[in-house]
């Protein structure tokens, strides 16, 4: 099958080539003498590379924040849309827009709205008297961290909302009616009916979302380029910089190989969940 051949050639072979490269000091500036350096790259990363650990730390905060926020927003929107309302497909289309537009367009339009001098948000907030000085959404480190998480949530919550909505529609309506007769309020219905029945969907979608967020490069890169002062760098951006700006391809491969460890764990959990939900 041609599909198999292209997958092997373009995905499997490079993967192993990448693993092999991570044991060398391949450098774009001196292509002639590539040396085999054993596990030196990995030892360097794990023991003396402070940058790597700092970046890894923020990567986890970023992934965790994005997934949790988009789950909460997604669930809220899904439960609203699950009511018997007209024009559901119009709302669905409008909510899906962030998910389908290119990251470049998303990042630029956000940069325009968040701009500190002419941005709509800053000027509106100042006019309302809520703030005195414009907020530096991108330039101030703590603020920038929040901005990238918000932006990433914005891009990924539509997926959550639609998947959860599909899950909600599978829950029989009589359950809620029965609960209402028994005197259960909104909160009790959520905790005792919705959450347990949504469990499989919740697990699978959050795992998928974590993997996608972990792998994502464009959302942050196009917004802040990892700045200010590299505080919003995540592993994928660090890899990109190391490879194509510092030209240390071998070392970059070693960094991205450490991503594989995380991926394998997540993939294992995902497969297990898929199996149990199929039964």
């Amino acid at each position: 099958m041609p599909a198999t051949i292209s997958i092997i050639l373009v995905a499997m072979y490079p993967f192993f080539k990448g693993l092999q490269l991570s044991f060398t000091d391949y450098n774009l500036l001196r292509m002639k003498d590539v040396q085999f350096v054993g596990i030196k790259n990995f030892i360097n990363i794990l023991t003396s590379d402070e940058e790597f650990w700092r970046v890894l730390g923020f990567t986890f905060i970023y992934v965790f924040g994005t997934v949790i926020l988009s789950y909460i927003v997604g669930l809220a929107i899904a439960s609203l849309m699950n009511q018997n309302i007209k024009g559901r497909s119009i709302f669905r289309a409008l909510l899906l827009i962030p998910w389908v537009i290119p990251s470049v367009v998303a990042a630029n339009s956000w940069l325009w709205v968040l701009n500190d001098q002419t941005g709509f948000i800053n000027i509106s907030l100042m006019k309302l008297g809520l703030i005195q000085k414009p907020l530096l959404f991108i330039a101030e480190p703590a603020m920038a961290k929040m901005t990238v998480i918000m932006m990433s949530t914005w891009k990924s919550f539509p997926f959550m909302a639609l998947v959860l909505l599909a899950g909600l529609q599978n829950i029989p309506k009589d359950l809620y009616e029965a609960a209402e007769i028994d005197g259960a309020g909104w909160w009790h219905s959520l905790i005792y009916i919705t959450m347990p029945l949504l469990k499989p969907v919740t697990f699978v979608s959050t795992i998928l979302m974590s993997i996608w967020t972990f792998n994502n490069f464009e959302n942050i890169y196009l917004l802040t380029r990892g700045g200010p002062a590299n505080v919003t760098q995540v592993i994928s951006i660090l890899t990109y910089y190391t490879a194509f700006f510092r030209n240390k391809l071998g070392y970059a491969c070693a960094i991205s190989s450490t991503m594989v460890i995380f991926m394998v764990i997540m993939a294992q959990i995902y497969m297990k969940l898929l199996k149990t939900s199929q039964k």
Binding site: S6, W112, T118, A166, F244, C253, S256, M271, L274
Partner: protein, 277 residues
Amino acid sequence: MKRKKLNKFFIYLILVIFVLIINLPLISMVGTSLKAEDEVLSTSNLFPTKISWVNYQTVLGKTPFLTYIKNSLIITISVTIFSTMLAVLAGYALSRFTHKIRVFGLYSRLLIVLQMFPIILLLIPLFIIFKSIGILNTRLPAILIYITITLPFSIWLMTGFFDGIPVELEEAGTIDGCSQFQSFYLLVLPVSSPGVAAIAIFSFIFCWNEYLLASIFLKQDNLRTLPIGLQTFIQQYTSAWGSLMAASTLTIIPTIIFLIFMQKYIIQGLTAGAVKG
């Protein structure tokens, strides 16, 4: 009864406000793109006082934007066609012959893992490989990689889709004298057109939007696709927000058209993964 009506009103209200907030950057984008040049930076109103098409004229007339559209179309269309064709054939094989050939079960599990692979991990080895073959400055690397990246998801979706079509359909075809390929082509394929539409749209949107790979493999002026082109606009004309917004608006038009007319298929593909498993 009255309370229920009030409740419903609030649901609509919340949804409408939410949709507006969510789409605020895009509303502002379209608004800005229609402003005249002096109005872009001087007011912060979302909409122009007078609609002006000057930004669109600049983008289409004075910048290589049309080249970017051409590049994007070449790559996106060729990837979509190849990837869809391969995925339909592979998905059919996986769906119908998994019970006979055991390797296929393992193969479809591999596809799920591949779908979650970080692109950045493959980027560096691929760069080195294509550099050594010497086809770095052509469209070929990008097309090959895009096909491969879209394939796992497409095959997987098609397999699920074919699983839902009863085998009796082909058996009936065989009785009526169709060959295996004929019964696939004449009977199964027409029934499965929604699935084919879903994977084609997904491939299209993916290629149309992709940035990371394009930024490495399609760096050259004459090869740039729309996302890369837009990014260069920002670096070159830092203060020309009006034209940038006009270019961005033009870029998302095909995607939005798909979203409006093909919403059913997009949602089908989107939720198939997580809900059905």
